[in-house]
């Protein structure tokens, strides 16, 4: 029995994809996209799924939006089973994906939205009023009669937002809603989400993102997901609080000798909790989570011994990305799809 106040409830949800190679005789490779995911999202929450590309965020949203069946486990949306009560669920949800170039390009913005309003069963007058209002809110009312094919990515995304909210859904799934948008369009989208939640306190939004700042800014609670597994679920504040006893440094070095090694630093310098090493144009950037300030001198000595010279050093507050690094040992910008999830590797 699913609790009444839960918008989403999943129990040990697994999703395995079978990928065939070019040769039909070969056994298909199994890729675990979701690995026993159990999650509760309360009604009225703006809940985030934070993880790198290929972590399983979209797969989970697809299952909850009734686009995909779980391989095993059960998932409920507003108390309804995603495998057996699809139509009932669809009355209460909507889904908007970022970076989409989809849409019937030959229709105008108004025609496209009218069509979806009609599929939802809205009366023509109510549909028109709602379309006009939402177009006004997202600032594209003047594009009502523009063909979708003539819209820029940002404007198309805003139109998709209107489509997603036209039915006054109880639960909205936003899959990377700001993907591909410029800074100001992304800001407007985030503002729209916040305002909508303010106006609809009973509604729930599940948002996936790999932008930590976005998750930090928008979400009441969030889950960190990697390689199909949920690693932590809490509020952004509490998640960052996990690193409260630690200190976070960012070092930029020029490695004259061998490139700094993450494993070597963790093993040879006591008090180094996590390190990520990223190559940039200026040199090599090290993100360090240390147990205390004093350990930095050991790190610098180690780097000097290895022939690296320091270019820049910054001590900063822990971010969600640091939490992620702390949990998995690498940054959010690493695409993990089709790599370590492969069961047969």
């Amino acid at each position: 029995m699913v609790e009444n106040n839960l918008a989403v409830h999943t129990e040990d949800v697994m999703r395995i994809y079978k990928l065939r190679g070019p040769k039909r005789k070969e056994d298909p490779r199994e890729i675990i996209a979701l690995d026993e995911v159990s999650l509760d999202i309360r009604r009225g929450e703006l809940f985030g799924l934070l993880g790198p590309n290929g972590a399983g965020k979209t797969t989970l949203i697809k299952i909850l939006a009734t686009l995909l069946l779980p391989t095993s486990g059960t998932a409920y949306v507003n108390g309804k089973n995603v495998a057996t009560e699809m139509r009932e669920i669809r009355h209460e949800i909507s889904m908007v994906s970022g970076g989409e170039t989809s849409g019937y390009g030959l229709l105008t913005v108004e025609e496209n939205l009218w069509m979806f309003a009609r599929f939802y069963g809205l009366e023509s007058k109510a549909a028109r009023l709602r379309i006009d209002h939402l177009l006004e809110v997202v600032g594209i009312a003047d594009r009502k009669r523009t063909k979708i094919s003539d819209l820029s990515t940002g404007l198309r995304q805003k139109m998709n937002f209107v489509r997603g909210f036209i039915s006054d859904p109880k639960i909205v799934f936003l899959d990377e809603p700001t993907l591909g948008l410029d800074v100001s369009a992304a800001r407007e989208v985030r503002a729209f989400i916040m305002n909508w939640m303010g106006d609809h306190p009973e509604s729930t939004i599940l948002l996936t993102t790999h932008y930590m700042a976005e998750a930090d800014e928008l979400c009441d609670r969030l889950a960190i997901i990697d390689k199909g597994k949920l690693l932590a679920v809490d509020s952004p504040r509490n998640l960052k609080h996990r690193l409260n006893q630690d200190v976070v440094f960012q070092l930029t070095v020029e490695p004259l000798g061998p490139r700094p090694s993450r494993e070597e630093m963790i093993e040879s310098i006591p008090g180094v909790r996590q390190v990520t090493v990223t190559e940039v144009a200026e040199g090599t950037v090290l993100q360090l989570i240390l147990q205390a300030d004093e350990i930095l001198s050991d790190v610098l000595a180690h780097l000097t011994r290895r022939g690296s010279s320091l270019i820049a050093l910054e001590k900063r507050e822990a971010t969600l990305e640091d939490v992620f690094i702390d949990l998995v040992g690498r940054g959010l910008d690493v695409d993990t799809s089709h790599t370590a999830e492969d069961r047969d590797e």
């Binding site: 995909l68 069946l69 989409e100 030959l106 069509m115 979806f116 599929f119 009366e123």
Partner: protein, 296 residues
Amino acid sequence: MLLVNRILDISFIRRNHAMRSFITAAWLGWQIESNWADPFLFAVYSIARPIASVMILVVMYSVITDSATEEPIFAYIYLGNALYILVGMIITGVSWAVIDDREHYRTNKQLHTIPMSHFMYLMGRGVARLIIGTISVLITIGFGMLFFKIPITFQLVDWPLLLVSTGLGILALAGLGMIMGSLTMMLARHFWSIGEAVAGALYLFTGAIFPLDVLPSWIRWVGYGIPVTYWLEVARRALLGPDAIGFPTLARFSNLEIIWILGGFSVVLLVLSYFFYRWSLHTAKEKGLIDLESSY
């Protein structure tokens, strides 16, 4: 859009998933199918193309029979071909809509998360092709009457028989089209052509270009198992009257008997297509193929 708005505002239709999905999809299908940048191209597609294809057969027939177009068999062949335009249009219509939404417009993610009947949506998407196909059939028949003296006399046409048989034929074809469309949902490749392949394969066995009885008896049974055979036969009888009787295809059956058989086929195919569609949709969701883009 105004007319569609009025229809959709009727309370019964608005509250009925299936009806509103069908009507809205039919509107969308028409927007897509008729949205040619150039009306000339649209005319070429819906007028010149069917006439050109039927002319190929006319020329072949003329060469073989030394232009005996006044023979009743010519009208039989000509009408069979004209009516067959609908077969291809309807059978490929649904598969085309599946591929169009999934690969071209990439709207499947949106369409499969809204509370509509996707089965009726796909049927509705096929309506535009049915309309364009019907226009092509009428133009082709009119062309034949004008230039090849196809002996159709409006006063002698059995209109009720023509309408009932065509209605049932369209339902049977819609069922076949839906089965092809459902198959397309489960296939990762650009497989809309499966409908065309099936329509092409049926061409030889349905009595479209020659009476079924000229085929070896064991192949004839393929034709007896296809509803198109019965529709073409009874539609020709309705249009040509006594002239159609001279050919042995299904000669032992009365018009009413053929209508019953055609009706049976329509019901069976529609029911079968519904269950096959549900199974295909489930399989596509299991395999994660609903919003797959094969980038063809």
